[in-house]
C-alpha cells in the first residue's frame, strides 16, 4: 500500500525535476549557470495562475487535447512498475493498453494542433504522426523481446526480470533493444537530435510547434504531461538497462531516483554534444531504432530455436 502511494507520489511530483536536470546539464556543457533545477515547477505553477487566450478558429477539440493527454499519461503511469515495486494496476495484456494510451494522446494532441488552422501547427502535427509510424513498431519489437525473455504478458513481470535470470545470449538482444528504445525515447519526448525544445523557428519544431496556441493552464498541463511522459518512458528504459536491486527493499526508491537523475544527465549530455538532425533525416534515425529493436528480436528468436 505504502509502495503504491510512493509510486503515485513520485509519478505526480518528480517529472518536472527531470527537465530541470537536463537543462542544468546542458547549461554546464555550455559554460552557463542555467536556470534553477526547479525551474519547470515554477513555470508550471506560473502558467496555472494565468488566464488563457483561445483562438477564434478553435473548437472543443483544442481544449480536449491537453486534458486527454494528461489523463492518458497518468493512466499509463499507473500501469508502469517502478524499480522492483509492482504497478498499482496490472493485468494480462496491459502492455498493449500502455502503448495505445500514448496513441490516444497523440490523436488528440495532433487534432488540437490542426484545430487552430495554423500552417505551422499543421506541420508539427504531420511530423508527429509520421514519426510515430516508425517509433511505434520499434516499441512493439521491444515489448515482444521483453515478453519473450520474461514469458509474461504483464508489464510487472516483463520489466521485473531478476538480473540473475539473464544468460549471455539474452544480453545481446537486450542491448540492441535498449539502444532502439533510447532513440524512441528521445523522439517521443522531443529531445535533440529529433526535436529541439528551445528552438526559435517554428519551421523546425515538432512538439513545441503543435502547442503554439495553447496558453495559461492548458499550456501548463501540456508541459506537465510532457515531462511525465519522459519520466514513464525513462522508467521503462531503466528497467532494461539497469536491473540492479538492493537487498533492503525501501532502499530501492532512492536508488531508482538516482538512476532517473543519471538518465536525465545522459539525455542532457546527448543534447549537448549533438546537433539537431535535418528534418528529412529523422526518419532514418527512427528506422535505425526500428532495425536495432528488430534485430534484437530476431537474435532472441534464433536463440530459442
Amino acid at each position: 500500500m505504502v509502495d503504491k502511494l510512493i509510486h503515485i507520489l513520485l509519478l505526480l511530483t518528480m517529472p518536472p525535476l527531470l527537465l530541470g536536470i537536463i537543462n542544468k546539464t546542458k547549461a554546464w556543457f555550455a559554460g552557463r549557470n542555467g536556470p534553477p533545477v526547479l525551474q519547470a515547477y515554477y513555470d508550471i505553477i506560473k502558467l496555472m495562475r494565468k488566464g488563457m487566450v483561445i483562438s477564434r478558429t478553435t473548437t472543443w477539440v483544442f481544449i480536449a487535447g491537453p486534458i486527454v493527454t494528461l489523463a492518458t499519461v497518468l493512466l499509463a503511469g499507473m500501469l508502469m512498475p517502478i524499480s522492483r515495486f509492482n504497478a498499482p494496476i496490472s493485468f494480462a495484456g496491459d502492455l498493449i493498453l500502455f502503448a495505445y494510451l500514448f496513441g490516444l494522446a497523440r490523436f488528440f494532441t495532433t487534432a488540437a494542433a490542426l484545430d487552430t488552422g495554423s500552417p505551422f501547427e499543421g506541420m508539427g502535427a504531420a511530423r508527429e504522426v509520421t514519426f510515430a509510424c516508425l517509433s511505434e513498431p520499434a516499441l512493439f519489437f521491444t515489448l515482444l523481446v521483453l515478453a519473450k525473455v520474461s514469458g509474461s504478458l504483464t508489464l510487472n513481470n516483463m520489466l521485473h526480470c531478476p538480473a540473475g535470470a539473464f544468460s549471455v545470449a539474452m544480453a545481446a538482444p537486450l542491448v540492441l533493444v535498449s539502444i532502439g528504445l533510447f532513440i524512441v525515447l528521445l523522439a517521443e519526448t522531443c529531445r535533440i537530435p529529433v526535436d529541439d525544445p528551445n528552438t526559435h523557428l517554428e519551421l523546425t519544431m515538432i512538439h513545441e510547434v503543435m502547442v503554439l496556441d495553447h496558453s495559461g493552464p492548458l499550456f501548463g498541463i501540456i508541459l506537465y504531461s510532457a515531462s511525465m511522459k519522459l519520466f514513464i518512458l525513462g522508467a521503462v528504459l531503466l528497467h532494461i538497462i539497469s536491473p540492479f536491486q538492493t537487498k533492503t527493499i525501501w532502499m530501492n526508491w532512492p536508488l531508482f531516483i538516482m538512476e532517473m537523475f543519471g538518465l536525465a544527465i545522459v539525455i542532457g549530455i546527448v543534447e549537448s554534444v549533438m546537433a539537431r538532425l535535418r528534418m528529412r533525416h529523422i526518419p532514418y534515425l527512427l528506422i535505425s531504432a526500428l532495425l536495432f529493436c528488430g534485430f534484437g528480436f530476431i537474435l532472441l528468436v534464433r536463440y530459442y530455436q
Partner: protein, 660 residues
C-alpha cells in the same frame, strides 16, 4: 424467424415499384419493411441464442443439383448481426439522404436492389449447400452492382461499376472451381465438415477460396474494385458494401476453413502475411488519398487486413494445436468484424452528411465544418477514435484480443511457440500508428481549421443533417461505445463461434478467462473519470481567470489566409514519400525559371498501383493485340451454337482418350 427476416429484407424493395417515380410513399414502405425485417432478424438471433444451434432446414427443389439447405450455427449468427443492423439503419438514413422526390430517375431502382442486397447477404451466411450459396452470392454481387451504380449517367460511376463487375466475376469463377473441386472431393454439394480429404486437394480448395473470397473481401492485390465502387456509390450503399458486404468474403474464408478440418502451418502463415501486407498497404493508400470516400474505402482494406491477421493466427493455432491462439485470434477477428461494421458504417454515413453539406468529395476543399456541423463532428470523432483502435472504444477491444494472441505465439506460458508470428504484432502496431495519421488528417482537413475555399465557405450554409440521418449515426456510435466499454457482452457468441470453427469441446476455456476483458471496462471507466476530473478542475481553475479570444498565432505574417493551412496532401506528404515504393506517386513539379516566374501548377496524384499501373495497361495491351480474334465473334447465334458443339466434341474425344 430469421428466414422470414431474410424474405422481408429481400423483397422490401418490391412495393416501391408500384408507386410513381416521385412519390415518397413507396420508399417509406420499403424502409418500414427493412426496419421490420431487421427487427425480426435480431429477435430471431436473440431467440436462437437460447436454442441449441445449429438449426437446420432442408427442402429439395427443382434444380438438378444441390438443395435448398439452410443451417444457422454460431458462425452464421456472428455474421448475421451486422447484416441485420447496418442495412436497416442505412435505409432509414437513405430516406433523407436519397429522397425519392429528388432522385426520380434512380431512386426506385436503388431501394429495390438495396433490399435485395441485404436479403441475399443474409442468405449467403446461412446457406448450407454450395449451389444455394453460389446463387445467393451472385444475387448479392449483382444487387450490389445495381445499387452502387445508381448514378450511371456519370462516366466515373460507370467505370467503377465495370471494374467491380469484372473483379467480382473473376472471384466467382474461382469459387465455382472451388466448389466443383469440393463436389469432387466430398461427392456432395452439401457444406458439411470433412475429415478425410487429401492434403493437396484441401490445399487447393483453400487457395481457391482465398482468391475467390479475397476479391470480395478486398485482400491487397485483389482489392482493385473496392476504392472506385465505394467512392462512387451513394453513401448508405457504400456503408453497407464496406461494413457488411466485404465481410461476406471473410465469411467465406472462415466457413471454408471451418469445414476443412485439415490445416497446415503454411495456411496460417499465408493468411498472416496477406493480412499484414493488406493492412499496411491499405492504410498507406488511405493516407495518400484526398477523396473522403476513397480514404474510407482504403481504410476498409486495412481493416480486412487486421481481420485476416486474426484469422491467420487462429489457423496457426489449429495447425499447431494451441487452443488459446485460436480463441484469441478468431475471437478478436470476429469481434473486429462487428466493430468494423459499426464504425465504418458510421463514418460512411458521416461522409455522406459532409458531402451533402459541402457538395464535394475532395477534402482539400473543405475545412472548418466543425463550427457548422458540431454534432456530425462529434460522431465523426467517435468513429475515428474507434477505427484507430484507440481505447476506450470498440476498435481497441478487438485489436487487443488479436495482440494478446500474437504475443502468445512467443510461447508464453510454456512451449516453444511460433515466435516469428510475433512480427505480425509489429505490423499491427504500424497499421495502428498509420491509422491515427490517416484519421487525424481527415478530422483536421474536413472539420477543423477554417474553410479552405470559397465554395466551402457558405454555398448554402452547411449544417447538421436532419434527425433522420442523425439517428442512424447516433445508434452506430452508441454501439461503438457499448462494445468499447463492455466487450464481454459479445463473449458468449464469440465463444460459440470459435468452438464451432475449431471443433473444440464444450468445456474449453472461454474468451473472457483467457483475456481479462473486465479490465478493459475498468480502465475505460477510469480513463473517462480521470479526464472528467481534470476537465472539471480546469473549469474551476479558469473560472476566476481572464479567458479572451483572439486570432490564431500567425507567426508574424500580416495577412494569413485560410489557404496557408496544411491540406490533407501536405499532411500526408512525408508518409507518402516514405511509402513511395508501394504508392508510386505521380508528382508533377512546377519549374520556376527567371526572376518573374509564370503561374505554375503542382500536381500530385496517387493512382491505385495494382489497378492503374498493372491491370489497366495489361488490358490496353490486350485491347491492342487481340482484336484479330474478333473474327470469331460475328453476332450470329447459330455460329455460337456451332462453337459449343465443336468444343463438346473435342471434350468428348479428350475424355474418351483419357479414360482409355
Amino acid at each position: 424467424m430469421i428466414l422470414t427476416a431474410i424474405a422481408v429484407l429481400g423483397f422490401s424493395g418490391l412495393p416501391v415499384c408500384l408507386f410513381s417515380s416521385r412519390s415518397l410513399a413507396g420508399q417509406r414502405i420499403a424502409t418500414l419493411l427493412m426496419f421490420l425485417g431487421g427487427v425480426i432478424g435480431l429477435c430471431g438471433i436473440a431467440v436462437s441464442l437460447n436454442d441449441v444451434l445449429p438449426v437446420a432446414l432442408c427442402v429439395s427443389w427443382f434444380l438438378p443439383w444441390g438443395q435448398f439447405a439452410i443451417t444457422i450455427d454460431a458462425i452464421s449468427v456472428m455474421f448475421l448481426m451486422p447484416v441485420f443492423v447496418v442495412p436497416m439503419l442505412g435505409s432509414i438514413y437513405g430516406l433523407k439522404y436519397w429522397k425519392q422526390s429528388e432522385h426520380p430517375e434512380n431512386g426506385r431502382r436503388l431501394v429495390f436492389f438495396y433490399g435485395l442486397l441485404a436479403g441475399s447477404m443474409a442468405l449467403v451466411v446461412v446457406a448450407h449447400d454450395a449451389v444455394l450459396f453460389l446463387i445467393a452470392w451472385e444475387i448479392m454481387a449483382l444487387a450490389a452492382y445495381f445499387a452502387a451504380t445508381a448514378e450511371d449517367d456519370n462516366p466515373e460511376v460507370c467505370r467503377a461499376g465495370w471494374v467491380y463487375l469484372i473483379a467480382t466475376h473473376v472471384g466467382t469463377l474461382c469459387l465455382i472451381a472451388m466448389f466443383a473441386l469440393w463436389r469432387h472431393a466430398t461427392s456432395s454439394f452439401a457444406l458439411n465438415p470433412v475429415h478425410t480429404i487429401p492434403a493437396e486437394i484441401a490445399g487447393t480448395i483453400f487457395v481457391l477460396s482465398l482468391i475467390g473470397f479475397g476479391f470480395k473481401a478486398g485482400i491487397m492485390p485483389l482489392h482493385i474494385w473496392l476504392p472506385g465502387a465505394h467512392a462512387n456509390a451513394p453513401s448508405h450503399v457504400s456503408a453497407v458494401m464496406s461494413g457488411v458486404m466485404l465481410k461476406m468474403g471473410v465469411y467465406g474464408i472462415v466457413r471454408i476453413t471451418a469445414l476443412l478440418d485439415v490445416s497446415a502451418v503454411w495456411w496460417g502463415c499465408a493468411v498472416l502475411i496477406l493480412g499484414a501486407v493488406t493492412g499496411i498497404a491499405g492504410i498507406a493508400f488511405a493516407i495518400s488519398q484526398n477523396d473522403i470516400k476513397r480514404i474510407l474505402a482504403y481504410s476498409s482494406i486495412e481493416n480486412i487486413g487486421i481481420i485476416m491477421i486474426g484469422l491467420g493466427l487462429a489457423l496457426l493455432g489449429r495447425a499447431l494445436n494451441q487452443p488459446i491462439w485460436i480463441i484469441l485470434g478468431l475471437g478478436g477477428s470476429l469481434l473486429h468484424i462487428w466493430n468494423h461494421s459499426l464504425f465504418k458504417s458510421l463514418l460512411f454515413f458521416n461522409a455522406g452528411a459532409v458531402i451533402h453539406a459541402s457538395r464535394t468529395r475532395d477534402i482539400d476543399q473543405m475545412g472548418g465544418l466543425a463550427k457548422l456541423m458540431p454534432r456530425t463532428m462529434i460522431l465523426f470523432v467517435i468513429g475515428a477514435v474507434a477505427i484507430c483502435a484507440l481505447p476506450p472504444l470498440n476498435g481497441f477491444a478487438g485489436e487487443w484480443l488479436i495482440y494478446s494472441g500474437l504475443f502468445h505465439t512467443l510461447g508464453i506460458g510454456g512451449g516453444t511457440g511460433f515466435p516469428v508470428a510475433g512480427i505480425a504484432a509489429v505490423a499491427l502496431a504500424m497499421i495502428g500508428a498509420m491509422a491515427v495519421a490517416c484519421f487525424v488528417k481527415m478530422l483536421g482537413t474536413v472539420f477543423l481549421g477554417t474553410a479552405r475555399c470559397k465554395s466551402a465557405e457558405h454555398p448554402h450554409c452547411p449544417h447538421d443533417p436532419s434527425a433522420g440521418m442523425m439517428w442512424p449515426m447516433a445508434v452506430l456510435a452508441f454501439g461503438c461505445v457499448c462494445i468499447g466499454f463492455f466487450p464481454m457482452i459479445a463473449g458468449k457468441m464469440l465463444d460459440d463461434a470459435v468452438r464451432v470453427w475449431a471443433g473444440l469441446p464444450e468445456q474449453t476455456t472461454s474468451i473472457t478467462t483467457v483475456a481479462p476483458l473486465g479490465w478493459i471496462t475498468k480502465m475505460s471507466i477510469a480513463f473517462i473519470l480521470l479526464a472528467g476530473i481534470i476537465a472539471f478542475a480546469l473549469k474551476r481553475l479558469v473560472k476566476t481567470r481572464v479567458v479572451s479570444e483572439a486570432g490564431t498565432w500567425d507567426c508574424g505574417y500580416t495577412q494569413p489566409s485560410s489557404r496557408v493551412q496544411y491540406t490533407g496532401s501536405s499532411f500526408g506528404q512525408t508518409l507518402v514519400s516514405l511509402f513511395g515504393f508501394i504508392l508510386w506517386p505521380k508528382i508533377h513539379w512546377p519549374r520556376v525559371r527567371g526572376f518573374f516566374p509564370k503561374t505554375a501548377n503542382f500536381k500530385n496524384i496517387i493512382p491505385d498501383t495494382v489497378l492503374d499501373r498493372l491491370i489497366m495497361p495489361l488490358f490496353n495491351v490486350a485491347g491492342r493485340y487481340l482484336p484479330s480474334l474478333r473474327v470469331l465473334q460475328q453476332g450470329q447465334t447459330h455460329f455460337y451454337v456451332l462453337y459449343i458443339l465443336i468444343i463438346v466434341i473435342v471434350l468428348l474425344i479428350c475424355g474418351t482418350i483419357g479414360v482409355k
